[in-house]
């Protein structure tokens, strides 16, 4: 069986240097957005999804586990943060923390259940678990069912930064995204990340080398779920609501699509993919259900002809690790 990414290069110092250069360029570009006149709401939204896709990519690109229910972490963190901010009137930093803790707890439980099966079964289990959660949130009183939690106060971060100002909010979201991104970058390049890649390439061999692969996969799952929760908590401040769409299976599918378009198992791919898909939704909003058809077509085209994704193709062409 061929692996998902057939040509990942080893993490040499040169590769690390390339990646750091690209990271700095990306950070500078994103930091200059408020001066360019680009609609900041769009970029903030894309950044939240980019972080979510990066967290998802940690699991599939480096652990070989395709989770088809990653929206459940984003949605759960979103609901919990929103509830903490609106009903408990907590300050933003604690609201985010509540969301992260909720996603952490959820990923402990769902990871414990789903990691028991491999490959395709793992995908079906995560999908089923997220659907279970969807129905729970549909009926639970605190989520307000179809209406969702709306009109969430943005407040002042650490008592200083007024999040109701778009520029301030933008930089807070950007810092959150970059912090999450760097953490994932660090995880991938750590000894833990190397073992994870070894498991993806050949699990029986990793087991025979003495690694308890289930524990590694479980930890990767929890890290990924918690970071996805962070993305969900940030998104609450951008969208100022938390609704059922964030837990629906179609949202999980979109995350998969973003990562696939950008490049599975590439570091910057999920970011590019998230911007492409969010931009597409923005510009094609008037076409109604055709957006779904286009998304489906992108899935088909990517799987049949473009499995490396945008960044994967570029990296392959220049023989670099990106």
């Amino acid at each position: 069986m061929t692996t998902l990414t057939d040509d990942t290069l080893p993490a040499t110092p040169r590769a690390m240097r390339d990646e750091m250069i690209v990271f700095v360029v990306m950070a500078l570009l994103l930091a200059s957005v408020p001066f360019t006149g680009v609609y900041p709401f769009f970029v903030m939204q894309a950044l939240c999804f980019a972080l979510l896709a990066c967290a998802f990519n940690l699991l599939i690109g480096y652990g070989g586990l395709l989770s088809f229910g990653h929206a459940m972490f984003m949605g759960t963190a979103g609901y919990c943060s929103a509830h903490a901010l609106k009903v408990w009137a907590l300050p933003p930093e604690l609201g985010i923390l509540v969301g992260i803790v909720a996603a952490f707890g959820l990923s402990l439980i769902t990871g414990f259940i789903s990691i028991r099966r491999q490959g395709i079964y793992f995908s079906m289990i995560t999908l089923a678990l997220s659907q279970l959660l969807y129905f729970i949130y549909l009926q639970a009183p605190f989520t307000h069912g179809e209406d969702g939690i709306q009109g969430i106060p943005q407040g002042r971060m650490f008592g200083v930064f007024d999040l109701s100002k778009p520029t301030v909010l933008y930089y807070v979201v950007l810092v959150g995204f970059l912090a999450g991104f760097l953490l994932i970058f660090r995880i991938i390049n750590s000894p833990f990340g190397e073992v994870l890649k070894a498991i993806r390439e050949n699990e029986p061999r990793a087991i025979s080398l003495g690694y308890r692969t289930d524990q590694y996969k479980f930890l990767a799952f929890v890290l990924s779920g918690t970071l996805a929760g962070f993305a969900g908590a940030l998104k609450v401040f951008v969208a100022q609501n938390a609704s059922l769409t964030d837990v629906h299976w179609s949202m999980s599918g979109e995350v998969v699509l973003m990562t696939l378009v950008g490049g599975l198992g590439t570091i910057f791919g999920p970011v590019v993919g998230a911007f492409v898909i969010i931009a597409m939704q923005q510009y094609l909003a008037g076409f109604g259900q055709w957006v779904t058809v286009i998304q489906g077509s992108i899935f088909v085209i990517c799987v049949l002809t473009f499995r490396r994704g945008v960044i994967g193709e570029i990296a392959h062409y220049f023989r670099r690790s990106l």
Partner: protein, 287 residues
């Protein structure tokens, strides 16, 4: 008691759909090593083809029962020839992603033209009405769905486990290269298998059209429940899929009677319990 029997019947009907769909998934997975995410969309297509046949061609339910699976099966075989066959040798996950994309396309197109509301499909005259069984009132159509599905499931089991063609099929599942060396056209068999699995889904769609109305998203949520059924039952055995499908339908029906709030979630909760107790699923065979 009347209500309990009525919910049991609803459970049996849902169980028939679970059984037909998970059976198709298992057959397809055996030959193609693909989890067919488009199964729900093709089930929906079955119902729509029946609707078109009736309203555009004046072809009645009985012929639709024959033609809809054939038409959707041919559509499936075209999909297999043009797309799925190129995935041979790639990771399983790509099959899931590709068929997910196909499902989005099919559902999106139908949603565009038919919105999200349901189109009515009348119960055929011969199956209208009901009969009094003494302990409950049985609508004839519903009884027909259960019995007919059971017959189709058993016929499929017979075809795969007891006939020569089925023996080829099982052999090709185990070792396609060797079976090819014996002069069997394995790629054609794979295409026909996909057509068969898809045809079963379309058949379930026709059966459900008079009960659940014809909606573009009728298969979208159903397929996730069927995935949970497949996780519970495992895909190793045909009979296992049939029994698990019906059993879970009945359990869901009972839940609707005793604790309706959990009727949407009971199958998923059972899946979690099975995974905790017996991670390989009820019929064994680790994946």
């Amino acid at each position: 008691m009347q209500a309990l029997y009525a919910q049991l019947l609803v459970g049996l009907i849902n169980g028939s759909f679970y059984a037909l769909l998970s059976l198709g998934l298992a057959v397809i997975f055996g030959m193609l090593n693909i989890i067919n995410f488009a199964h729900g969309a093709l089930y929906m297509m079955g119902a729509f083809v029946a609707y078109f046949l009736l309203n555009l061609g004046g072809i009645n339910y009985w012929w639709a029962l024959l033609f809809a699976p054939i038409i959707v099966g041919i559509f499936g075989m075209i999909l297999e020839r043009t797309m799925l066959q190129w995935l041979t040798g790639l990771d399983h996950l790509y099959g899931l992603l590709l068929t997910f994309g196909i499902a989005l396309i099919v559902q999106g197109v139908f949603q565009n033209y038919f919105g999200s509301s349901g189109l009515p499909y009348a119960i055929p005259d011969q199956l209208k009405g009901g009969m009094n069984l003494g302990f409950m009132f049985l609508p004839i159509y519903r009884g027909w769905v259960v019995i007919f599905s059971l017959v189709v499931c058993i016929a499929t089991w017979f075809l795969i486990e007891k006939t020569r063609l089925g023996a080829y099929l099982r052999a090709a599942t185990e070792n396609p290269t060797l079976v090819r060396a014996f002069g069997v056209n394995v790629p054609r068999m794979i295409t026909l298998t996909y057509g068969l699995g898809v045809g079963l889904a379309a058949l379930a769609g026709v059966l459900s059209a008079p009960i659940n109305q014809v909606r573009p998203l009728m298969g979208a949520d159903l397929i996730i429940v069927v995935f949970a059924v497949v996780v519970i039952g495992g895909m190793g055995s045909i009979m296992g899929s049939i029994i698990t499908g019906f059993a879970l339908g009945v359990i869901e029906g009972l839940t609707k009677y005793f604790y309706p709030e959990a009727s949407n979630t009971v199958v998923f909760v059972l899946m979690v319990l099975v995974l905790l107790v017996k991670p390989t699923g009820l019929t064994g065979r680790a994946a």
